[in-house]
């Protein structure tokens, strides 16, 4: 009886929920730069960001790591900004800045008190218009990137797991390698190649400028025009990355990591790209398995059987494909336990394939999704990135930011079962034993 009431209450709640609509203005400059402006005056803050549609998947197979390298290189200065000044200018204006790179895009940003809006535009337009790319910058950043790799990958427990999975899951498509790339490739690259890569991809017609925060839209438009309109357009960019042949036989392999003592078992399945509805269904499937302590895998393996220290599953969703990854670490750290963990994981997949998830679980994952997405637009930087993502990846649909929750609500329990059946089959996957390196 009590339970009945609770469900009713939840359903009532769901109908009154409404997401905050993010209002925006968008247009193209003649040089092809797409501009998105969002006004929010609750705090005296502005985020100025540029998302370039270039990532590691745009690299040549013998020049991996270029896109990420540019994340560093494009802080080296411009015709009007001396080397080493970029970050100093940001700080001197009380701002923060950074950049990040994925397989698909690179995102540069500054967050300033709103009185420094123009400085943000100046910095980003200088970076787009005439960055300085020379030997000294390349050499310095080459060392820095190597340190970053040591820090984030080589010295990091489980730091190589994604690379180990991706190189087995993708053999033709450039998702074969991860964004940090190969240090040997970077070492052998000539200055001309860096300049050519910049000229090809870091151009207005391959970018979205998003400015979000305490701004006056009309004034900002004029400044955008002043700073960004003079930037010459680039050549047309065509992308036709290789398609993968389906995996038809399970790939079982072992990888070693110097930095770990607790092994891990992982299985990974190739899934469709980010814009597909199936990708969302797969994400919900992963929530059923591992979001929250009452999720299926957590409850079974960590709490009831107690054979896992940690479990997880997620749909690593990218532009062209995704990777659905499930993993577990044995409690006690014993490698011989991996087989049992794998079976426990597999049983849960089979259950997803053979039975619809319960109504209660369905309500749960939708509430969890909503709870998480409410926070995504709490700060101006988050808003800027979500707007840019929509334009860059969802067929130029900047408004995707406002449709996210609605899209999730269109996914049914049947959809979740369907994707589990279609994509999460044993013969379509990579199973990886990720083990501590033995002392030699």
């Amino acid at each position: 009886m009590l339970k009945q009431k609770l469900v009713l209450f939840l359903m009532f709640g769901a109908t009154i929920a409404n997401a905050q609509k993010v209002a925006f203005t968008e247009y193209d400059l003649k040089n092809g730069l797409h501009v998105v402006l969002h006004q929010d005056k609750t705090a005296p803050v502005v985020a100025v960001s540029v998302m370039y549609h270039v990532g590691s998947k745009d690299e040549q197979t013998n020049r991996t790591g270029f896109a990420h390298f540019f994340e560093h290189l494009l802080f080296e200065g411009s015709d009007n900004i001396k080397r080493g000044e970029f970050m100093k200018i940001v700080s001197a204006n009380g701002g923060q800045n950074n950049a990040n790179t994925t397989q698909d895009r690179t995102f540069y940003y500054e967050v300033f008190p709103s009185n420094s809006l123009e400085t943000g535009m100046w910095l980003e337009s200088e970076r787009m218009m005439h960055p300085v790319i020379n030997e000294i910058g390349v050499k310095t950043q080459n060392e820095v990137v190597k340190e970053e790799k040591r820090l984030r990958v080589d010295n990091q427990p489980y730091g190589n797991f994604l690379a180990e999975i991706m190189k087995r899951l993708f053999v033709k498509h450039p998702y074969h390698w991860v964004t940090i790339g190969s240090m040997a490739d970077l070492d052998s690259a000539k200055l001309d190649e860096f300049i050519a890569f910049n000229k090809k991809y870091y151009v207005p017609n391959n970018a979205v400028l998003v400015i979000a925060g305490d701004i006056d839209i009309e004034k900002t438009k004029k400044l955008v025009d002043g700073y960004f309109a003079p930037i010459p357009t680039g050549g047309a960019i065509t992308r036709n990355p290789a398609r993968e042949d389906p995996i038809t036989t399970e790939i079982v392999d072992t990888a070693y990591d110097n930095n770990i003592s607790i092994p891990a078992i992982m299985s990974a399945y190739r899934t469709p790209g980010i814009t597909s509805k199936e990708s969302l269904a797969l994400q919900l499937a992963s929530d059923v398995l591992s979001t929250g302590q009452s999720s299926r895998m957590y409850k079974k393996m960590v709490d009831d059987k107690k054979n896992a220290l940690q479990v997880g599953s997620f749909n690593y969703s990218l532009e062209d494909y995704g990777a659905y990854i499930i993993y577990a670490l044995p409690n006690g750290g014993d490698s011989t336990a991996l087989q049992v963990l794998l079976k426990d994981m597999d049983d849960e997949i089979v259950k997803l394939q053979t039975e619809l998830i319960s109504e209660t679980e369905f309500t749960k994952i939708r509430n969890q999704y909503e709870n998480n997405s409410v926070g995504a637009n709490a700060k101006m930087l988050g808003v800027a990135e979500n707007l840019a993502d929509g334009y860059t990846f969802y067929n130029k649909n900047t408004n995707h930011i406002n449709q996210d929750l609605d899209e999730i609500r269109t996914i049914t329990r049947q959809d979740i079962q369907n994707v589990a059946k279609k994509y999460l089959n044993r013969n379509q996957r990579v199973t990886l034993y990720y083990l501590p390196k033995k002392n030699k």
């Binding site: 200018i89 940001v90 923060q96 310095t140 340190e147 003592s261 709490d303 709870n371 709490a378």
Partner: protein, 697 residues
């Protein structure tokens, strides 16, 4: 007509617009007037049981969070190390009325986040589910079930988790830096170990709960889509009747800094980078007069990508991905720390650069631009922080907990903006105790240690748990070297030497050697020959004016020595020692189980850096050999000779390496013993020709 007018107007507007947007991109745009920063006060009220409630109302998003923080300060766990963390986790393992599975299910169904920890808990939820989620957190805090089964699960997980960090240089560094700085038996320096966790019991959890989870000195902060009235109602319902122990304010004696700057090294042979920290302890309460100046000093030294450390270690030298400074503050003793994760080969250089930037701060080498930028960053970050309503609550609770003036944050920027370079230098000098600092490095000893001695600081070795390593390295046969990094190092030094003289294979092919020798001693020159044959046959003869002055013969089993007409058979011990040599170049055989080698560090030999290794030969005789860090060649050998019942240290220096055939030979050998230097010069070296067994009769 209308249309024409419209077109005309349109053109005029666009013309006007483009006329306005000419920008001068040659220089940085001027910032507009600084935005006004409004400080809002949270609603604050207290419950009779000692709980303080703060409410920051903000309806922008349909969500609410509540955080309970019990202001217990650092807790000294002593031999119960790990108990607080475990107790915090145990509160999430179900309540007296709700087993864990039900508790988890209830939270997840709301899509909420509810976490419990050793100092309280957190609830975050959509507005419409917040009350229910909040009451779940309250139930867990007030009525934890503490099932034995959960205790065993978490205990095992904790141990497994500790194992997972065993090899991680950054985990080790995090532990050791505090343990060395504060002392491993203090609240701030102690750490959890597998042994301490194994010894814990469920009763310890219950006791820790009783002692620490209490409304006394606790702060409950609501943020978001909630009115103060509703928050008060919820708080009163949940905690109004809650009682618990009265918490004392903990007090700790100050820990002294080291009397002189030293390097504390922890060897992690698998580490790809070195974790470098320079630390000293400080007292920096937020209410203190130096607090603001220390913030700015920290910002200039290592507050971000434009600060001195980053600009030097990353942008100028590329030693690291980033280098930062952190100046602790608060009611208790805190740590000043600069740190970087650097590549092993450059760890020594990184120390030098890091110290030089600390010196620059102390010497006032700070530009007006740096000062202005640091101030701007604080002014800016105050504006940026307004995006997050949680900061309003943080400011308010900081004032309460630290006993600050009510207008602390309203006057904050005023105080920051009034600081001068002299102020910053003064606090840097006072608080960055450059001459009483610990330079803690966690990393690959084989790569990093040899270069550190040039820095001139005493080097102390510690293990992963901050225990000093006694100054006698373990003796390990090289054959067993896989488990012992010191032996691996000795092994590689010997291998490098063999490579440097022409390769191990070439060295093995050397079966005989014949050379002329001349010896200068006290102005007199002796001439002679030395003949050697593998494995250890030797015949050395030195003549003065046609007469034999010295002679030494060993045929592989027996031998004799004569000096100025007096002759003596080699005794058993001497024969045994002579048999130690398995070849003309004995290093080839150091890499066998008959020899024990250990690496002792780096020392200067005749102004060169040299790796020092200790060799224990099959006879038990010990010698110490020094190989140049630069050329890899053997440059010195030290041993003890017993003559006439007395032990004498003998030092043999090797120099003037020249190529003979495929191998390098030292053509000058200087032997120092008993205050006398003998310089042997070799010439006309012939290898693998003209030597027979008959030469050793």
């Amino acid at each position: 007509m209308n249309k024409i007018l419209y077109t005309f107007l349109f053109t005029a507007v666009t013309f006007a617009a483009s006329a306005q947007v000419t920008v001068d991109r040659s220089k940085q745009p001027k910032a507009g007037p600084a935005p006004v920063i409004e400080f809002k006060n949270p609603e604050i009220f207290t419950l009779p049981n000692g709980m303080t409630i703060l409410v920051v109302e903000n309806h922008k998003l349909p969500r609410v969070s509540a955080t309970l923080n019990i202001d217990m300060g650092p807790v000294k766990e002593g031999e119960k190390s790990g108990i607080m963390q475990l107790m915090g986790q145990m509160m999430g393992e179900g309540t007296k009325s709700m087993p864990k599975a039900k508790f988890d299910e209830s939270i997840d169904l709301l899509g909420a986040d509810v976490n419990l920890n050793s100092t309280g808990g957190y609830t975050g939820a959509l507005t419409r589910y917040f009350s229910q989620a909040f009451m779940l957190m309250a139930d867990a805090l007030k009525n934890p079930a503490f099932p034995q089964e959960s205790f065993e699960k978490l205990q095992k997980q904790t141990i497994t988790g500790l194992k997972s960090g065993e090899k991680s240089a950054s985990t080790i560094s995090g532990r050791v830096v505090n343990a060395l700085g504060y002392g491993k038996h203090t609240a701030m320096g102690e750490f959890v170990t597998e042994e301490s966790v194994k010894a814990l019991t469920l009763n310890d959890v219950k006791q820790a709960y009783k002692d620490h989870i209490t409304p006394s000195r606790s702060y409950l902060t609501f943020i978001g889509d909630i009115t103060p009235g509703k928050a008060k109602e919820l708080a009163t319902n949940a905690f109004g009747s809650w009682t618990g122990k009265k918490l004392p304010v903990p007090e700790f004696a100050n820990v002294d800094n080291v009397p002189a700057t030293e390097i504390d090294f922890i060897d992690v042979p698998t580490a790809v980078q070195g974790e470098l920290s320079v630390t000293n302890l400080i007292n920096n309460p937020m209410s203190g007069k130096d607090y603001h100046a220390l913030l700015i000093a920290n910002q200039i030294l290592g507050g971000g990508a434009e600060a001195k450390l980053f600009m030097n270690l990353r942008e100028k030298h590329g030693f690291t991905y980033g280098s930062y400074a952190n100046t602790g503050n608060g009611r208790f003793q805190a740590m000043f720390k600069t740190s970087a994760q650097v590549r092993s080969e450059k760890a020594d250089s990184a120390v030098v650069e890091m110290l030089s930037e600390i010196d620059n701060m102390r010497n006032g080498k700070i530009t007006e631009e740096e000062l202005a930028s640091a101030k701007a960053k604080y002014n800016g970050s105050f504006a940026l922080k307004m995006e997050d309503p949680a900061n309003t609550a943080t400011y308010a609770s900081n004032i309460l907990i630290n006993g600050l003036e009510k207008d602390f944050y309203r006057t904050f920027l005023q105080k920051i903006n009034a600081l001068t370079i002299a102020d910053v230098q003064r606090v840097a000098k006072k608080y960055y105790t450059r001459d009483n600092a610990r330079i803690v490095i966690v990393g690959n000893g084989a790569k990093i240690l040899p270069n550190l001695s040039r820095l001139g600081f005493p080097i102390k070795l510690y293990d992963k748990y901050a225990e000093p390593i006694a100054n006698k390295p373990k003796e390990t046969a090289v054959g067993e070297s896989d488990k012992n990094s010191e032996a691996v190092t000795a092994f590689s030094i010997i291998n490098d030497y063999l490579k440097a003289i022409g390769g191990k294979d070439e060295a093995k092919k050397l079966v005989s050697q014949k050379a002329n020798i001349s010896l200068s001693v006290q102005g007199i020159t002796l001439e002679g020959t030395q003949i050697k044959m593998a494995p250890n046959k030797e015949h050395t003869i030195l003549k003065m004016g046609g007469n034999v002055a010295m002679e030494k013969v060993f045929d592989g089993a027996k031998g004799h020595q004569s000096q100025m007409g007096k002759s003596a058979e080699m005794d058993t011990a001497e024969v045994k020692e002579a048999m130690d040599e398995k070849g003309i170049i004995p290093q080839v055989y150091y890499i066998t189980n008959d020899y024990k080698t250990s690496y002792l560090g780096v020392e200067k030999v005749n102004d060169q850096n040299a790796y020092k290794i200790k060799i224990t030969k099959p006879s038990g005789k010990v010698s110490t050999e020094y190989y140049s860090t630069k050329t890899a060649l053997l440059i010195r050998e030290e041993s003890t000779e017993t003559a006439g019942g007395e032990e004498t240290a003998v030092i043999v220096d090797y120099s003037d390496y020249q190529k003979v055939g495929t191998l390098l030979f030292p053509l000058t050998i200087t032997q120092s013993a008993g205050g006398q230097d003998l310089v042997f010069k070799f010439s006309d070296v012939k290898i693998n020709e003209g030597v027979t067994d008959a030469d050793f009769k």
